[in-house]
Protein backbone atom coordinates (compact mmCIF):
# COMPACT_ATOMS: atom_id res chain seq x y z
CA UNK A 1 0.00 0.00 0.00
CA UNK A 2 2.72 2.43 1.01
CA UNK A 3 4.76 1.50 -2.04
CA UNK A 4 1.77 2.10 -4.30
CA UNK A 5 1.12 5.46 -2.69
CA UNK A 6 4.75 6.40 -3.19
CA UNK A 7 4.52 5.39 -6.84
CA UNK A 8 1.43 7.53 -7.22
CA UNK A 9 3.09 10.49 -5.50
CA UNK A 10 5.77 10.39 -8.16
CA UNK A 11 3.05 10.78 -10.79
CA UNK A 12 0.94 13.31 -8.90
CA UNK A 13 1.22 15.81 -11.77
CA UNK A 14 -0.67 13.36 -13.98
CA UNK A 15 -3.35 13.07 -11.32
CA UNK A 16 -3.60 16.85 -11.15
CA UNK A 17 -3.96 16.94 -14.92
CA UNK A 18 -7.01 14.69 -14.62
CA UNK A 19 -8.62 16.73 -11.85
CA UNK A 20 -10.63 19.16 -14.01
CA UNK A 21 -12.21 16.26 -15.88
CA UNK A 22 -12.82 14.37 -12.64
CA UNK A 23 -14.52 17.44 -11.17
CA UNK A 24 -16.55 17.92 -14.35
CA UNK A 25 -17.98 14.41 -14.36
CA UNK A 26 -18.52 14.56 -10.62
CA UNK A 27 -20.69 17.66 -10.91
CA UNK A 28 -22.59 16.92 -14.12
CA UNK A 29 -22.87 13.13 -13.99
CA UNK A 30 -22.40 11.82 -10.46
CA UNK A 31 -24.01 14.62 -8.48
CA UNK A 32 -27.38 14.13 -10.28
CA UNK A 33 -27.38 10.38 -9.56
CA UNK A 34 -28.83 10.56 -6.02
CA UNK A 35 -31.59 12.59 -7.64
CA UNK A 36 -33.15 9.36 -8.90
CA UNK A 37 -34.75 9.35 -5.45
CA UNK A 38 -37.29 11.69 -7.08
CA UNK A 39 -38.83 8.65 -8.70
CA UNK A 40 -39.93 7.34 -5.29
CA UNK A 41 -41.42 10.49 -3.79
CA UNK A 42 -44.29 12.82 -4.47
CA UNK A 43 -42.18 15.83 -5.27
CA UNK A 44 -43.01 19.33 -4.14
CA UNK A 45 -40.76 22.34 -4.48
CA UNK A 46 -40.94 23.45 -0.86
CA UNK A 47 -39.62 20.25 0.69
CA UNK A 48 -37.06 19.43 -1.99
CA UNK A 49 -36.08 16.02 -3.29
CA UNK A 50 -35.32 14.37 0.02
CA UNK A 51 -37.97 16.09 2.10
CA UNK A 52 -40.91 15.19 -0.14
CA UNK A 53 -43.29 12.42 0.83
CA UNK A 54 -42.05 8.90 0.11
CA UNK A 55 -44.54 6.97 -2.00
CA UNK A 56 -42.58 3.85 -2.89
CA UNK A 57 -43.35 2.51 -6.32
CA UNK A 58 -46.55 4.51 -6.78
CA UNK A 59 -45.09 6.65 -9.58
CA UNK A 60 -44.14 3.54 -11.51
CA UNK A 61 -47.46 1.89 -10.79
CA UNK A 62 -49.31 4.87 -12.21
CA UNK A 63 -47.19 4.89 -15.38
CA UNK A 64 -47.77 1.18 -15.92
CA UNK A 65 -51.50 1.32 -15.20
CA UNK A 66 -52.09 4.25 -17.53
CA UNK A 67 -50.34 2.34 -20.31
CA UNK A 68 -47.97 5.25 -20.80
CA UNK A 69 -44.81 3.35 -19.92
CA UNK A 70 -45.64 0.63 -22.41
CA UNK A 71 -46.38 3.12 -25.21
CA UNK A 72 -43.13 5.03 -24.59
CA UNK A 73 -41.07 1.84 -24.46
CA UNK A 74 -42.71 0.51 -27.60
CA UNK A 75 -42.18 3.72 -29.55
CA UNK A 76 -38.58 4.18 -28.42
CA UNK A 77 -37.60 0.60 -29.22
CA UNK A 78 -39.47 0.32 -32.53
CA UNK A 79 -38.03 3.59 -33.83
CA UNK A 80 -34.53 2.56 -32.83
CA UNK A 81 -34.93 -0.86 -34.45
CA UNK A 82 -36.03 0.80 -37.68
CA UNK A 83 -33.12 3.26 -37.49
CA UNK A 84 -30.60 0.49 -36.83
CA UNK A 85 -31.81 -1.94 -39.48
CA UNK A 86 -32.62 0.46 -42.32
CA UNK A 87 -29.66 2.67 -41.44
CA UNK A 88 -27.02 -0.05 -41.36
CA UNK A 89 -28.22 -1.78 -44.50
CA UNK A 90 -28.22 1.46 -46.48
CA UNK A 91 -24.84 2.48 -45.05
CA UNK A 92 -23.17 -0.82 -45.96
CA UNK A 93 -24.68 -0.71 -49.45
CA UNK A 94 -23.43 2.80 -50.05
CA UNK A 95 -19.97 1.98 -48.71
CA UNK A 96 -19.70 -1.07 -50.99
CA UNK A 97 -20.86 0.91 -54.00
CA UNK A 98 -18.31 3.61 -53.26
CA UNK A 99 -15.63 0.97 -53.00
CA UNK A 100 -16.39 -0.22 -56.54
CA UNK A 101 -15.87 3.25 -57.97
CA UNK A 102 -12.43 3.01 -59.51
CA UNK A 103 -11.00 5.01 -62.37
CA UNK A 104 -10.27 8.69 -62.57
CA UNK A 105 -13.75 10.03 -63.20
CA UNK A 106 -15.56 7.77 -60.76
CA UNK A 107 -12.99 8.47 -58.06
CA UNK A 108 -13.60 12.21 -58.36
CA UNK A 109 -17.35 11.60 -58.30
CA UNK A 110 -17.01 9.41 -55.22
CA UNK A 111 -15.15 12.10 -53.33
CA UNK A 112 -17.77 14.66 -54.21
CA UNK A 113 -20.69 12.37 -53.36
CA UNK A 114 -19.17 11.42 -50.00
CA UNK A 115 -18.85 15.08 -49.08
CA UNK A 116 -22.42 15.85 -50.08
CA UNK A 117 -23.85 12.88 -48.19
CA UNK A 118 -21.88 13.75 -45.05
CA UNK A 119 -23.22 17.31 -44.99
CA UNK A 120 -26.56 16.63 -43.22
CA UNK A 121 -24.64 15.35 -40.18
CA UNK A 122 -23.45 18.92 -39.56
CA UNK A 123 -26.86 20.53 -39.43
CA UNK A 124 -28.60 21.23 -36.13
CA UNK A 125 -31.89 19.47 -35.52
CA UNK A 126 -33.58 22.87 -35.31
CA UNK A 127 -32.65 23.49 -38.95
CA UNK A 128 -33.83 19.99 -39.84
CA UNK A 129 -37.15 20.94 -38.27
CA UNK A 130 -37.26 23.97 -40.61
CA UNK A 131 -36.53 21.71 -43.58
CA UNK A 132 -39.42 19.45 -42.64
CA UNK A 133 -41.71 22.44 -42.17
CA UNK A 134 -40.75 23.70 -45.63
CA UNK A 135 -41.77 20.38 -47.15
CA UNK A 136 -44.76 19.40 -45.07
CA UNK A 137 -46.77 22.32 -43.73
CA UNK A 138 -50.30 22.56 -44.98
CA UNK A 139 -50.48 26.13 -46.27
CA UNK A 140 -47.12 26.73 -47.91
CA UNK A 141 -45.27 23.41 -47.85
CA UNK A 142 -43.69 22.19 -51.06
CA UNK A 143 -45.58 18.91 -51.17
CA UNK A 144 -48.97 20.48 -50.56
CA UNK A 145 -48.31 23.28 -53.07
CA UNK A 146 -47.60 20.62 -55.66
CA UNK A 147 -50.74 18.71 -54.74
CA UNK A 148 -52.75 21.92 -55.05
CA UNK A 149 -51.30 22.61 -58.46
CA UNK A 150 -52.35 19.17 -59.58
CA UNK A 151 -55.76 19.95 -58.08
CA UNK A 152 -55.52 17.15 -55.56
CA UNK A 153 -56.47 17.21 -51.87
CA UNK A 154 -53.83 18.52 -49.55
CA UNK A 155 -52.39 16.42 -46.74
CA UNK A 156 -52.14 17.86 -43.26
CA UNK A 157 -49.05 15.94 -42.25
CA UNK A 158 -48.91 17.45 -38.79
CA UNK A 159 -52.23 15.88 -37.83
CA UNK A 160 -51.86 12.37 -39.23
CA UNK A 161 -49.88 10.26 -36.74
CA UNK A 162 -49.66 7.18 -39.00
CA UNK A 163 -47.39 9.00 -41.45
CA UNK A 164 -44.78 9.96 -38.89
CA UNK A 165 -42.92 6.70 -38.42
CA UNK A 166 -42.06 6.88 -42.14
CA UNK A 167 -41.16 10.56 -42.06
CA UNK A 168 -38.96 10.23 -39.00
CA UNK A 169 -37.12 7.16 -40.31
CA UNK A 170 -36.57 8.88 -43.66
CA UNK A 171 -35.16 11.98 -42.00
CA UNK A 172 -32.92 9.80 -39.85
CA UNK A 173 -31.60 8.06 -42.97
CA UNK A 174 -31.15 11.44 -44.60
CA UNK A 175 -29.01 12.66 -41.71
CA UNK A 176 -26.90 9.60 -40.96
CA UNK A 177 -26.32 7.66 -44.19
CA UNK A 178 -23.21 9.66 -45.11
CA UNK A 179 -21.83 9.44 -41.58
CA UNK A 180 -22.38 5.70 -41.24
CA UNK A 181 -21.08 4.85 -44.68
CA UNK A 182 -17.76 6.44 -43.70
CA UNK A 183 -17.42 3.95 -40.85
CA UNK A 184 -18.11 1.02 -43.18
CA UNK A 185 -15.92 2.43 -45.92
CA UNK A 186 -13.02 2.54 -43.43
CA UNK A 187 -13.75 -1.08 -42.51
CA UNK A 188 -13.68 -2.08 -46.19
CA UNK A 189 -10.36 -0.29 -46.59
CA UNK A 190 -9.03 -2.40 -43.74
CA UNK A 191 -9.68 -5.63 -45.63
CA UNK A 192 -6.54 -7.28 -46.90
CA UNK A 193 -6.21 -6.19 -50.53
CA UNK A 194 -4.33 -9.35 -51.48
CA UNK A 195 -7.50 -11.39 -51.10
CA UNK A 196 -9.27 -9.09 -53.53
CA UNK A 197 -6.48 -9.19 -56.05
CA UNK A 198 -6.17 -12.96 -55.82
CA UNK A 199 -9.88 -13.38 -56.45
CA UNK A 200 -9.60 -11.06 -59.43
CA UNK A 201 -6.79 -13.12 -60.91
CA UNK A 202 -8.86 -16.24 -60.30
CA UNK A 203 -11.52 -14.73 -62.49
CA UNK A 204 -14.13 -13.72 -59.93
CA UNK A 205 -16.38 -10.96 -61.19
CA UNK A 206 -17.21 -7.90 -59.14
CA UNK A 207 -20.46 -9.34 -57.86
CA UNK A 208 -18.80 -12.55 -56.72
CA UNK A 209 -16.02 -10.55 -55.09
CA UNK A 210 -18.57 -8.58 -53.07
CA UNK A 211 -20.65 -11.62 -52.23
CA UNK A 212 -17.87 -14.00 -51.20
CA UNK A 213 -15.09 -11.74 -49.91
CA UNK A 214 -16.29 -8.26 -49.01
CA UNK A 215 -19.50 -9.16 -47.20
CA UNK A 216 -17.99 -12.00 -45.12
CA UNK A 217 -15.10 -9.70 -44.20
CA UNK A 218 -17.48 -6.95 -43.12
CA UNK A 219 -19.59 -9.30 -41.04
CA UNK A 220 -17.70 -8.86 -37.74
CA UNK A 221 -17.77 -5.04 -37.98
CA UNK A 222 -21.43 -5.17 -38.96
CA UNK A 223 -22.39 -7.42 -36.07
CA UNK A 224 -20.46 -5.42 -33.52
CA UNK A 225 -21.85 -2.07 -34.63
CA UNK A 226 -25.29 -3.64 -34.62
CA UNK A 227 -24.88 -5.07 -31.13
CA UNK A 228 -23.72 -1.79 -29.66
CA UNK A 229 -26.54 0.00 -31.40
CA UNK A 230 -28.92 -2.48 -29.78
CA UNK A 231 -27.31 -1.67 -26.43
CA UNK A 232 -28.47 1.92 -26.90
CA UNK A 233 -31.94 1.01 -28.04
CA UNK A 234 -33.59 2.71 -25.06
CA UNK A 235 -31.98 6.06 -25.83
CA UNK A 236 -33.81 8.37 -28.19
CA UNK A 237 -32.71 11.27 -30.33
CA UNK A 238 -34.60 14.04 -28.55
CA UNK A 239 -33.72 16.84 -30.95
CA UNK A 240 -34.92 14.97 -34.01
CA UNK A 241 -38.31 14.02 -32.58
CA UNK A 242 -38.92 17.32 -30.83
CA UNK A 243 -38.07 19.51 -33.80
CA UNK A 244 -39.71 17.36 -36.46
CA UNK A 245 -43.08 16.90 -34.83
CA UNK A 246 -43.42 20.40 -33.43
CA UNK A 247 -43.02 21.09 -29.75
CA UNK A 248 -46.54 20.56 -28.46
CA UNK A 249 -48.32 18.65 -31.18
CA UNK A 250 -50.50 16.41 -29.03
CA UNK A 251 -52.15 14.88 -32.11
CA UNK A 252 -49.01 12.89 -32.88
CA UNK A 253 -47.97 11.70 -29.39
CA UNK A 254 -49.42 8.26 -29.86
CA UNK A 255 -46.95 7.50 -32.66
CA UNK A 256 -44.10 9.89 -31.96
CA UNK A 257 -43.72 10.20 -28.21
CA UNK A 258 -40.49 8.63 -27.01
CA UNK A 259 -39.00 8.47 -23.53
CA UNK A 260 -36.90 11.62 -24.00
CA UNK A 261 -39.77 13.77 -25.21
CA UNK A 262 -42.01 12.55 -22.39
CA UNK A 263 -39.43 13.29 -19.71
CA UNK A 264 -38.84 16.70 -21.24
CA UNK A 265 -42.54 17.51 -21.03
CA UNK A 266 -42.65 16.34 -17.42
CA UNK A 267 -39.95 18.90 -16.71
CA UNK A 268 -41.11 21.80 -18.84
CA UNK A 269 -44.83 21.48 -19.44
CA UNK A 270 -46.63 19.36 -16.84
CA UNK A 271 -44.05 19.92 -14.04
CA UNK A 272 -44.52 16.33 -12.98
CA UNK A 273 -40.95 15.83 -11.79
CA UNK A 274 -41.62 12.51 -10.10
CA UNK A 275 -43.18 10.82 -13.12
CA UNK A 276 -40.40 12.14 -15.34
CA UNK A 277 -37.73 10.85 -12.98
CA UNK A 278 -39.43 7.48 -12.74
CA UNK A 279 -39.39 7.10 -16.52
CA UNK A 280 -35.79 8.35 -16.60
CA UNK A 281 -34.68 5.84 -13.99
CA UNK A 282 -36.49 3.03 -15.79
CA UNK A 283 -34.70 4.03 -19.00
CA UNK A 284 -31.29 4.17 -17.29
CA UNK A 285 -31.65 0.78 -15.62
CA UNK A 286 -33.07 -0.92 -18.71
CA UNK A 287 -30.29 0.62 -20.84
CA UNK A 288 -27.62 -0.41 -18.35
CA UNK A 289 -28.80 -4.02 -18.38
CA UNK A 290 -28.86 -4.00 -22.18
CA UNK A 291 -25.30 -2.70 -22.56
CA UNK A 292 -24.06 -5.26 -20.04
CA UNK A 293 -25.74 -8.07 -21.94
CA UNK A 294 -24.43 -6.87 -25.28
CA UNK A 295 -20.94 -6.51 -23.91
CA UNK A 296 -20.98 -10.06 -22.58
CA UNK A 297 -22.04 -11.34 -26.01
CA UNK A 298 -19.39 -9.30 -27.83
CA UNK A 299 -16.76 -10.52 -25.37
CA UNK A 300 -17.65 -14.09 -26.34
CA UNK A 301 -17.52 -13.63 -30.12
CA UNK A 302 -14.83 -10.96 -30.49
CA UNK A 303 -12.99 -10.23 -27.21
CA UNK A 304 -10.94 -7.42 -28.80
CA UNK A 305 -14.01 -5.32 -29.36
CA UNK A 306 -15.65 -5.62 -25.96
CA UNK A 307 -15.95 -2.36 -24.04
CA UNK A 308 -14.54 -3.64 -20.76
Amino acid sequence: MKARLKKLMKKKTLLFMCLPAIAFFFVFSYLPMPGVWLAFVQFNYKDGIFGSKFVGLDNFRFLVMSGQLWMLTKNTILYNLAFILAGNILQVTVAILFNEMVGKFLRAYKKFAQSVMFLPYFISTVVIGVFAYNFLNVQTGVINSMLRQMERDTINFYSIPQLWPFIIVLVYLWQYTGYGSIVYFAAIMGIDSEMMEASEIDGANAFQRIRYILLPCLKPTFIILLLFALGGIMKGNFGLFYNLTGASNTALYNKTDIIETFVFRCLNVSFNFSSGSAVGLYQSLFGFALVMTVNTIVKKIEPDYSLF
Binding site: P32, M33, E100, S124, V142, S145, N268, S284
Partner: protein
Protein backbone atom coordinates in the same frame (compact mmCIF):
# COMPACT_ATOMS: atom_id res chain seq x y z
CA UNK B 1 -4.16 3.37 -33.79
CA UNK B 2 -4.74 0.69 -36.39
CA UNK B 3 -7.69 2.43 -38.03
CA UNK B 4 -5.68 5.38 -39.33
CA UNK B 5 -2.99 3.04 -40.52
CA UNK B 6 -5.69 1.19 -42.39
CA UNK B 7 -6.72 4.41 -44.04
CA UNK B 8 -3.19 5.03 -45.15
CA UNK B 9 -2.70 1.54 -46.48
CA UNK B 10 -6.01 1.97 -48.21
CA UNK B 11 -4.46 4.73 -50.26
CA UNK B 12 -1.96 2.26 -51.55
CA UNK B 13 -4.73 -0.28 -52.15
CA UNK B 14 -6.53 2.35 -54.12
CA UNK B 15 -3.37 3.07 -56.05
CA UNK B 16 -2.91 -0.59 -56.81
CA UNK B 17 -6.47 -0.97 -57.96
CA UNK B 18 -6.13 2.08 -60.13
CA UNK B 19 -3.03 0.69 -61.76
CA UNK B 20 -4.82 -2.57 -62.28
CA UNK B 21 -7.76 -0.65 -63.62
CA UNK B 22 -5.97 1.60 -66.07
CA UNK B 23 -3.20 -0.86 -66.95
CA UNK B 24 -5.11 -4.01 -67.76
CA UNK B 25 -8.57 -2.50 -68.19
CA UNK B 26 -10.05 -5.28 -66.09
CA UNK B 27 -13.31 -3.52 -65.26
CA UNK B 28 -15.60 -6.41 -66.06
CA UNK B 29 -19.24 -6.21 -67.07
CA UNK B 30 -20.65 -6.87 -63.60
CA UNK B 31 -18.42 -4.22 -62.12
CA UNK B 32 -19.59 -1.75 -64.76
CA UNK B 33 -23.18 -2.60 -63.87
CA UNK B 34 -22.49 -2.14 -60.18
CA UNK B 35 -20.81 1.18 -60.88
CA UNK B 36 -23.75 2.44 -62.90
CA UNK B 37 -26.17 1.37 -60.19
CA UNK B 38 -23.89 3.00 -57.62
CA UNK B 39 -23.79 6.32 -59.42
CA UNK B 40 -27.57 6.30 -59.73
CA UNK B 41 -28.27 5.39 -56.12
CA UNK B 42 -25.69 7.70 -54.55
CA UNK B 43 -26.58 10.43 -57.01
CA UNK B 44 -30.19 10.16 -55.93
CA UNK B 45 -29.22 10.31 -52.26
CA UNK B 46 -26.98 13.32 -52.97
CA UNK B 47 -29.88 15.12 -54.64
CA UNK B 48 -32.03 14.46 -51.58
CA UNK B 49 -29.24 15.76 -49.35
CA UNK B 50 -28.91 19.02 -51.29
CA UNK B 51 -32.59 19.63 -52.02
CA UNK B 52 -33.65 20.99 -48.58
CA UNK B 53 -30.77 23.46 -48.59
CA UNK B 54 -31.72 24.76 -52.02
CA UNK B 55 -35.34 24.98 -50.92
CA UNK B 56 -34.76 27.08 -47.82
CA UNK B 57 -32.32 29.39 -49.63
CA UNK B 58 -34.73 29.87 -52.51
CA UNK B 59 -37.68 30.33 -50.12
CA UNK B 60 -35.77 32.93 -48.15
CA UNK B 61 -35.42 35.00 -51.35
CA UNK B 62 -39.07 34.68 -52.37
CA UNK B 63 -41.61 37.46 -51.93
CA UNK B 64 -44.06 36.74 -49.13
CA UNK B 65 -47.04 37.30 -51.44
CA UNK B 66 -45.85 34.55 -53.73
CA UNK B 67 -45.29 32.15 -50.83
CA UNK B 68 -48.80 32.60 -49.43
CA UNK B 69 -50.25 32.22 -52.91
CA UNK B 70 -48.19 29.36 -54.35
CA UNK B 71 -46.22 27.96 -51.42
CA UNK B 72 -42.48 27.35 -51.21
CA UNK B 73 -40.80 26.38 -54.45
CA UNK B 74 -37.43 25.32 -55.77
CA UNK B 75 -36.93 28.51 -57.78
CA UNK B 76 -38.26 31.82 -56.45
CA UNK B 77 -41.36 32.82 -58.46
CA UNK B 78 -40.93 36.37 -57.35
CA UNK B 79 -37.50 37.38 -56.13
CA UNK B 80 -37.37 39.52 -53.02
CA UNK B 81 -34.87 40.53 -50.38
CA UNK B 82 -37.46 41.70 -47.86
CA UNK B 83 -36.77 38.90 -45.35
CA UNK B 84 -33.07 39.72 -45.19
CA UNK B 85 -33.91 43.42 -45.23
CA UNK B 86 -35.98 42.96 -42.12
CA UNK B 87 -33.36 40.83 -40.37
CA UNK B 88 -30.58 43.31 -41.01
CA UNK B 89 -32.61 46.50 -40.62
CA UNK B 90 -32.79 45.70 -36.95
CA UNK B 91 -29.69 43.56 -36.62
CA UNK B 92 -29.35 43.76 -32.85
CA UNK B 93 -31.06 40.41 -32.23
CA UNK B 94 -29.24 38.44 -34.91
CA UNK B 95 -25.88 39.98 -34.15
CA UNK B 96 -26.39 39.43 -30.44
CA UNK B 97 -27.20 35.78 -31.05
CA UNK B 98 -24.21 35.44 -33.31
CA UNK B 99 -21.92 36.97 -30.70
CA UNK B 100 -23.29 34.74 -27.93
CA UNK B 101 -22.84 31.61 -30.07
CA UNK B 102 -19.37 32.62 -31.22
CA UNK B 103 -18.38 33.46 -27.66
CA UNK B 104 -19.66 30.12 -26.36
CA UNK B 105 -18.04 28.21 -29.21
CA UNK B 106 -14.63 29.83 -28.85
CA UNK B 107 -14.48 29.69 -25.04
CA UNK B 108 -15.96 26.22 -24.74
CA UNK B 109 -13.80 24.73 -27.47
CA UNK B 110 -10.56 26.24 -26.19
CA UNK B 111 -11.04 25.35 -22.53
CA UNK B 112 -12.66 21.99 -23.28
CA UNK B 113 -9.97 20.99 -25.74
CA UNK B 114 -7.21 21.82 -23.28
CA UNK B 115 -8.80 19.77 -20.50
CA UNK B 116 -9.61 16.87 -22.83
CA UNK B 117 -6.05 16.80 -24.18
CA UNK B 118 -4.59 16.96 -20.67
CA UNK B 119 -6.84 14.15 -19.44
CA UNK B 120 -6.35 12.07 -22.59
CA UNK B 121 -2.58 12.37 -22.28
CA UNK B 122 -2.50 11.35 -18.62
CA UNK B 123 -4.88 8.44 -19.20
CA UNK B 124 -2.82 6.92 -22.00
CA UNK B 125 0.46 7.10 -20.02
CA UNK B 126 1.30 3.46 -19.28
CA UNK B 127 3.21 4.50 -16.14
CA UNK B 128 0.25 6.32 -14.54
CA UNK B 129 -1.02 3.97 -11.79
CA UNK B 130 -4.60 5.36 -11.65
CA UNK B 131 -5.26 5.39 -15.40
CA UNK B 132 -7.71 2.48 -15.40
CA UNK B 133 -9.63 3.72 -12.38
CA UNK B 134 -10.08 7.19 -13.79
CA UNK B 135 -10.94 5.84 -17.24
CA UNK B 136 -13.66 3.73 -15.71
CA UNK B 137 -14.90 6.64 -13.58
CA UNK B 138 -15.36 8.64 -16.80
CA UNK B 139 -16.72 5.77 -18.88
CA UNK B 140 -19.28 4.74 -16.29
CA UNK B 141 -21.21 7.98 -16.88
CA UNK B 142 -22.22 6.64 -20.31
CA UNK B 143 -23.59 3.45 -18.77
CA UNK B 144 -25.77 4.93 -16.09
CA UNK B 145 -27.12 8.41 -15.58
CA UNK B 146 -29.45 10.11 -13.18
CA UNK B 147 -31.59 11.29 -16.06
CA UNK B 148 -32.68 14.69 -17.27
CA UNK B 149 -34.66 15.90 -14.26
CA UNK B 150 -32.00 15.27 -11.58
CA UNK B 151 -29.47 16.90 -13.96
CA UNK B 152 -31.76 19.89 -14.31
CA UNK B 153 -32.09 20.13 -10.54
CA UNK B 154 -28.32 20.10 -10.04
CA UNK B 155 -27.76 22.85 -12.61
CA UNK B 156 -30.58 25.09 -11.43
CA UNK B 157 -30.69 24.41 -7.68
CA UNK B 158 -27.20 23.30 -6.64
CA UNK B 159 -25.18 25.38 -9.10
CA UNK B 160 -27.84 28.10 -9.43
CA UNK B 161 -27.12 28.58 -13.12
CA UNK B 162 -30.66 29.25 -14.37
CA UNK B 163 -30.54 32.03 -16.99
CA UNK B 164 -26.73 31.97 -17.01
CA UNK B 165 -24.68 31.30 -20.13
CA UNK B 166 -22.56 29.00 -17.97
CA UNK B 167 -25.44 26.50 -17.94
CA UNK B 168 -24.96 26.22 -21.71
CA UNK B 169 -21.18 26.49 -21.74
CA UNK B 170 -20.23 23.96 -19.09
CA UNK B 171 -22.21 20.77 -19.83
CA UNK B 172 -20.91 20.65 -23.41
CA UNK B 173 -17.27 21.10 -22.52
CA UNK B 174 -16.31 17.45 -22.62
CA UNK B 175 -17.75 14.01 -23.14
CA UNK B 176 -16.45 10.52 -22.43
CA UNK B 177 -16.43 9.85 -26.16
CA UNK B 178 -14.16 12.81 -26.92
CA UNK B 179 -11.77 11.93 -24.10
CA UNK B 180 -11.50 8.34 -25.37
CA UNK B 181 -10.99 9.66 -28.91
CA UNK B 182 -8.18 11.93 -27.71
CA UNK B 183 -6.64 9.08 -25.71
CA UNK B 184 -6.64 6.85 -28.80
CA UNK B 185 -5.05 9.60 -30.88
CA UNK B 186 -2.31 10.37 -28.35
CA UNK B 187 -1.46 6.68 -27.94
CA UNK B 188 0.18 6.84 -31.37
CA UNK B 189 2.84 9.27 -30.10
CA UNK B 190 5.66 6.99 -28.93
CA UNK B 191 6.04 6.79 -25.16
CA UNK B 192 9.82 6.99 -25.60
CA UNK B 193 9.46 10.72 -26.32
CA UNK B 194 7.99 11.21 -22.86
CA UNK B 195 10.62 8.94 -21.34
CA UNK B 196 13.59 10.72 -22.84
CA UNK B 197 12.20 14.11 -21.87
CA UNK B 198 11.76 12.83 -18.31
CA UNK B 199 15.39 11.76 -18.22
CA UNK B 200 16.32 15.25 -19.36
CA UNK B 201 14.54 16.51 -16.27
CA UNK B 202 11.25 17.76 -17.75
CA UNK B 203 8.12 17.52 -15.59
CA UNK B 204 4.96 15.78 -16.80
CA UNK B 205 2.98 18.97 -17.35
CA UNK B 206 5.89 20.60 -19.16
CA UNK B 207 6.19 17.56 -21.44
CA UNK B 208 2.50 17.75 -22.20
CA UNK B 209 2.55 21.47 -22.89
CA UNK B 210 5.78 21.76 -24.84
CA UNK B 211 6.23 18.39 -26.54
CA UNK B 212 2.92 16.56 -26.80
CA UNK B 213 0.58 19.44 -27.70
CA UNK B 214 2.69 20.69 -30.64
CA UNK B 215 3.01 17.18 -32.11
CA UNK B 216 -0.66 16.37 -31.67
CA UNK B 217 -2.16 19.07 -33.88
CA UNK B 218 -4.23 16.68 -36.07
CA UNK B 219 -5.79 15.18 -32.93
CA UNK B 220 -6.45 18.63 -31.50
CA UNK B 221 -8.02 19.77 -34.76
CA UNK B 222 -10.34 16.76 -34.90
CA UNK B 223 -11.51 16.85 -31.30
CA UNK B 224 -11.68 20.65 -31.35
CA UNK B 225 -13.91 20.62 -34.42
CA UNK B 226 -16.29 18.11 -32.85
CA UNK B 227 -16.52 20.39 -29.82
CA UNK B 228 -17.03 23.48 -31.94
CA UNK B 229 -19.78 21.80 -33.96
CA UNK B 230 -21.58 20.83 -30.74
CA UNK B 231 -21.44 24.39 -29.47
CA UNK B 232 -22.56 25.88 -32.76
CA UNK B 233 -25.56 23.56 -33.03
CA UNK B 234 -26.42 23.73 -29.34
CA UNK B 235 -30.01 24.60 -28.49
CA UNK B 236 -31.07 21.95 -25.96
CA UNK B 237 -29.38 23.30 -22.84
CA UNK B 238 -30.20 26.83 -23.99
CA UNK B 239 -33.85 25.91 -24.19
CA UNK B 240 -33.74 24.23 -20.77
CA UNK B 241 -31.85 26.86 -18.86
CA UNK B 242 -32.28 30.23 -20.59
CA UNK B 243 -35.71 31.73 -20.01
CA UNK B 244 -37.16 34.78 -21.71
CA UNK B 245 -35.25 36.91 -19.20
CA UNK B 246 -32.15 36.35 -21.34
CA UNK B 247 -32.28 38.83 -24.22
CA UNK B 248 -29.63 37.37 -26.47
CA UNK B 249 -30.10 33.67 -27.00
CA UNK B 250 -27.70 31.33 -28.77
CA UNK B 251 -28.25 31.23 -32.52
CA UNK B 252 -30.08 27.91 -32.78
CA UNK B 253 -32.49 28.81 -30.00
CA UNK B 254 -33.07 32.15 -31.69
CA UNK B 255 -33.90 30.23 -34.86
CA UNK B 256 -36.14 27.87 -32.92
CA UNK B 257 -38.09 30.78 -31.45
CA UNK B 258 -38.34 32.55 -34.80
CA UNK B 259 -39.78 29.47 -36.45
CA UNK B 260 -42.11 28.37 -33.70
CA UNK B 261 -43.30 31.64 -32.23
CA UNK B 262 -44.51 34.25 -34.71
CA UNK B 263 -44.28 36.72 -31.85
CA UNK B 264 -40.52 37.00 -32.36
CA UNK B 265 -40.91 38.05 -35.97
CA UNK B 266 -43.66 40.54 -35.10
CA UNK B 267 -41.45 42.08 -32.43
CA UNK B 268 -38.63 42.57 -34.83
CA UNK B 269 -40.97 44.00 -37.46
CA UNK B 270 -42.42 46.39 -34.90
CA UNK B 271 -38.91 47.52 -34.02
CA UNK B 272 -38.39 48.41 -37.69
CA UNK B 273 -41.79 50.12 -37.96
CA UNK B 274 -43.18 47.67 -40.48
CA UNK B 275 -46.97 47.28 -40.45
CA UNK B 276 -48.17 43.85 -39.38
CA UNK B 277 -49.72 42.97 -42.75
CA UNK B 278 -46.41 43.43 -44.57
CA UNK B 279 -44.40 41.10 -42.35
CA UNK B 280 -42.66 38.46 -44.49
CA UNK B 281 -43.47 35.77 -41.91
CA UNK B 282 -42.62 32.64 -43.89
CA UNK B 283 -39.60 33.88 -45.81
CA UNK B 284 -38.26 35.30 -42.56
CA UNK B 285 -38.26 31.82 -40.98
CA UNK B 286 -36.28 30.49 -43.92
CA UNK B 287 -33.89 33.44 -43.98
CA UNK B 288 -33.12 32.97 -40.29
CA UNK B 289 -32.37 29.30 -40.93
CA UNK B 290 -30.01 30.33 -43.75
CA UNK B 291 -28.27 32.85 -41.51
CA UNK B 292 -27.87 30.28 -38.72
CA UNK B 293 -26.53 27.54 -41.01
CA UNK B 294 -24.47 29.65 -43.42
CA UNK B 295 -21.18 29.58 -41.51
CA UNK B 296 -21.25 25.76 -41.27
CA UNK B 297 -21.78 25.32 -45.00
CA UNK B 298 -19.02 27.82 -45.58
CA UNK B 299 -16.33 26.08 -43.50
CA UNK B 300 -17.56 22.56 -44.24
CA UNK B 301 -15.32 21.84 -47.27
CA UNK B 302 -12.22 22.76 -45.28
CA UNK B 303 -12.95 20.79 -42.13
CA UNK B 304 -14.77 17.64 -43.21
CA UNK B 305 -11.58 15.57 -43.50
CA UNK B 306 -10.89 16.05 -39.77
CA UNK B 307 -14.32 14.72 -38.93
CA UNK B 308 -13.79 11.70 -41.17
CA UNK B 309 -10.53 11.07 -39.33
CA UNK B 310 -12.31 11.31 -35.99
CA UNK B 311 -15.08 8.93 -37.02
CA UNK B 312 -12.68 6.30 -38.31
CA UNK B 313 -10.45 6.48 -35.22
CA UNK B 314 -13.24 6.68 -32.70
CA UNK B 315 -16.04 4.65 -34.20
CA UNK B 316 -14.79 1.11 -34.04
CA UNK B 317 -13.60 1.26 -30.48
CA UNK B 318 -15.53 4.14 -28.95
Amino acid sequence: MPETLDLQSSMSTDEKLRKLDSGNKVVDKTQRAIQIFGVFLTGFICLLCILPFVLIISSSFTAEKSITLHGFSLIPREFSLSAYDLIFKNPKMVLGSYLVTIGLTVTGTTVGLFIIAMTGYALQRPDFPLRNHISFYIYFTTLFSGGLIPFYMVVTRTLKLKDSYFAVLLPLMMSPWLIILMKNFLKSIPHSITESATIDGAGDFYIFLRIILPTATPALATVGLFLALNYWNEWYNSMLFLSSKVTYRPLQLFLYNTVNEAKYIRDSAAASNIPAVDIPLESMKMATAVVATGPIIFVYPFVQKYFIQGITVGAVKG
